[in-house]
Chain length 151, copies 2
Amino acid sequence: MGLLAWQSQIKRAEKSLNGFTDEECLREIAPGKNRIIYLYGHLIGVHDELFEILGLGSRLHPGYEELFLTSPDKSGKEFPPVAAIRQAWSDVHARLDAAFDQMKAEDWFARHTRVTEEAFAREPHRNKLNVLISRAEHVAYHLGQIALAKK
Amino acid sequence: MGLLAWQSQIKRAEKSLNGFTDEECLREIAPGKNRIIYLYGHLIGVHDELFEILGLGSRLHPGYEELFLTSPDKSGKEFPPVAAIRQAWSDVHARLDAAFDQMKAEDWFARHTRVTEEAFAREPHRNKLNVLISRAEHVAYHLGQIALAKK
């Protein structure tokens, strides 16, 4: 069910983001706020980290961390073109889907790599499924913002 | 875990909404967009509906549906004062908490009242927990918007 929540948020995000042309992706969600392109890259960067957090391999786009996670929008750093960002979105989510397909139900209840064994013994809800649910909520948070940029 | 996701979103929402004075709640989240007070009432109205959807009793504030769910902001309809909205938030969530405390784990996997038995047989994930997870995402969606109103 956590997986369904994730998949439904990703579908909604795709529908929303595909609804903007490359040029419109340079729009701010509200005056003086983040641009759509930044939130696009931000979501990709956060989801690319899931490979490591869930123990599924290494990231596809490690450069996104500095551009879209640890730096704010309009940091002066050059972003990839929107077409490349769209491609990165497809690549990351296709590989995540494939990895999730291989996971058994019980794998989701195992410890994720950012929690120690000791902490997990105390707080067994800090499992992989919990990470996925919190990422789905993170998508929803930014989708609410991106929706404001629609004309 | 779905319950934890819900509780954590409600806590975040309270922190965010309590961070605005009553007067600041009349601010728009972005120029020409919904005001905080509308989203505040909107979340209460949606959560008040949970009593019926989850079979926990009847709503506390049925009037919120017309004000905050079926009408847009600035419909010309008079809203309750912010203090009353804050009180409604507390009442609805305290009563939801109490009702959730009485539920057993298996209750969450039962059919909710808005899905027919036939549809539930075909799609057994349409249970009460699924409703709660989707409401937690709905909170996140609007919290992302409310965050834009912070100065």
